[in-house]
Amino acid sequence: MREILELLERDSTLSHDTIATMTGLAVADVTAQVRAWEAAGVIRRYKAVVDWEKVEGADAGEVMAFIDVAVTPARGVGFDDVAQRISRFDEVRSVYLVSGGHDLRCTVVGSNIRAVSDFVSRKLSTIDRVQATSTHFVLATHKQDGDNFAEPETDHRLPITP
């Protein structure tokens, strides 16, 4: 059953029919299992991996930055309440509690550098108990969530070999 998740994680467009053939399971069982996972939130949703740099139009892409945030923890909740306040902003794509010099590492997107800077100075750094932020703008994406954005390697094989 775990194999179904691994297959969908790689290519969520696979039909249940194909998955059933690949795994040797019955189609009805695959469908029932996937529905159960969807209901339980194991499969949260299906989406596409987009290389925005390849989309026509100069500003099709967004600016992305990693923001490290130092937070004063509070009795009872630690960093959770601040992390949740940050997470609720649409501009924020990911929030992790991390070890090291800062406490939270966030990914923030905006239409340009100014938009991200404004978000950090007006919204993020003014949240209670946020002590300091450190912003790192992303200059190029080489690999994201396991997808290498380089051109796929050319197939150098001869068309017919013994």
């Binding site: 690949m22 017919i160 013994p162």
Partner: protein
């Protein structure tokens, strides 16, 4: 001019060549004719090769190959298949199974010795026997039996000149995996008639239903068996040209003797990359094998759905469906399919007379390509 070597001049060029030439001039060809993985060598292995180049491992190695690599190969054979070989006296590194096969045949054969070759089989088997001064003797296997080797048919082909039996399992082109019973029967025959066995096990890891049987581990086989293996298929390392021979010490010693004068050693960089393949790339191999298995299931089901009878391939990455229902011979079928629908397959007859009426389709191709190939093949079949 004096005539060139009779044996080599008499050997016909591979039947695959003609199709290669046609396919090379066409656009939009989906090739199911490729006998090598569509995966590129896993990065950790390539990176080890780059490191080796950077650090100047560009020299000869010992003739038999890097001790570390031979130790790893023998350890792997032991843990995986319970086959026992001493790394220092019974194992040598070759430039792929191709060289290993050549060495084994040269060492085993005297002029005129016969080698029984069950077919359909890999295209190099018969020529290599001939080049080594031997005479290949074909024994047919049949789709109805899943291309299992029939010991009675093999025994019927044995003559006083018979020296060895040459098999490949899992097999190119059929994808057939020889049942343990068939292998055991061959070993009994070899004992009875004092024959050597040469076992091409390049596709060992690409066995999908159950575990591969190494012929060298079948009771009674070890002292008369040469096992050939390599890194081309499971580790996707075809172009690195690195393989191995495991054989009883007297045979291995003579193999090293030929190798030291003809090849000297396998490429140093490739041997270092192969060490990396055995020490850290098992996860990559398992992932690739799992992918081949999924494609196999989808592709074989698809072939049957478009009306082609397809024996269940238990290994390698080939399906070998029958095209007899079309009334065409395999060459005509393959040529017309290529010209009409730009799908390249290899006609079964190039692998021996028993391959007639079949085509070899490699599923070492991305799934969307396989699905498109099935659509085109279906259209072609409808048009007949």
């Amino acid at each position: 001019m004096k005539p060139l070597n009779d044996v080599i001049a008499a050997c016909p060029p591979s039947g695959i060549r003609r199709f290669f030439d046609i396919a090379a001039e066409m656009d939009d060809v989906i090739s199911l004719g490729v006998g090598e993985p569509d995966f590129v060598t896993p990065w950790r292995i390539r990176e080890a090769g780059i490191y080796a180049l950077e650090h100047g491992y560009t020299t000869y190695t010992s003739n038999a190959g890097l001790a570390e690599l031979r130790r790893l190969i023998c350890a792997e054979l032991e843990t995986r298949y319970d086959a026992h070989y001493a790394w220092d006296t019974e194992c040598l590194i070759t430039t792929g199974v191709s060289e290993g096969l050549d060495l084994a045949l040269r060492v085993l054969l005297n002029p005129g010795d016969e080698v029984i070759v069950p077919e359909p089989c890999y295209v190099a088997y018969e020529p290599c026997v001939a080049f080594a001064g031997g005479t290949p003797v074909r024994v047919a296997t049949r789709a109805e039996d899943g291309f299992a080797i029939d010991a009675a048919a093999v025994e019927a082909a044995i003559t006083p000149r018979t020296k060895a039996i040459l098999i490949g399992s899992p097999a190119n082109p059929t994808g057939a995996v020889q049942p343990v019973a068939a292998l055991t029967a061959l070993v009994r025959l070899a004992e009875k008639h004092d024959l050597y066995l040469i076992s091409d096990e390049i596709y060992d890891r690409l066995t999908y239903d159950g575990v591969h049987t190494c012929l060298g581990a079948v009771p009674g086989a070890r002292e008369r068996t040469v096992v050939l293996g390599g890194f081309s298929k499971a580790q996707a390392m075809t172009g690195w040209r690195v393989g191995w021979i495991c054989a009883p010490a007297p045979v291995a010693e003579l193999c090293v003797r030929v190798h030291q004068y003809t090849m000297l050693c396998a490429p140093h960089v490739s041997q270092i990359a192969a060490v990396e393949a055995l020490t850290s790339a098992d996860g990559d191999v398992r992932a690739m094998v799992a992918d081949y298995d999924r494609r196999r299931r989808v592709f074989v089901k698809g072939l049957r759905e478009i009306g082609l009878d397809c024996p269940e391939p238990g290994g390698a990455f080939y399906a070998f469906p029958s095209i007899r229902s079309t009334g065409l011979d395999s060459e005509t079928f393959a040529e017309r399919l290529l010209k009409a629908e730009s799908v390249a397959v290899v006609p079964g007859n190039v692998f021996g007379p028993s391959g007639e009426g079949h085509i070899r389709c490699s599923y070492a191709t991305a799934l969307p390509q396989l699905e498109e190939a099935l659509v085109r093949m279906d259209r072609f079949l409808q048009s007949l």
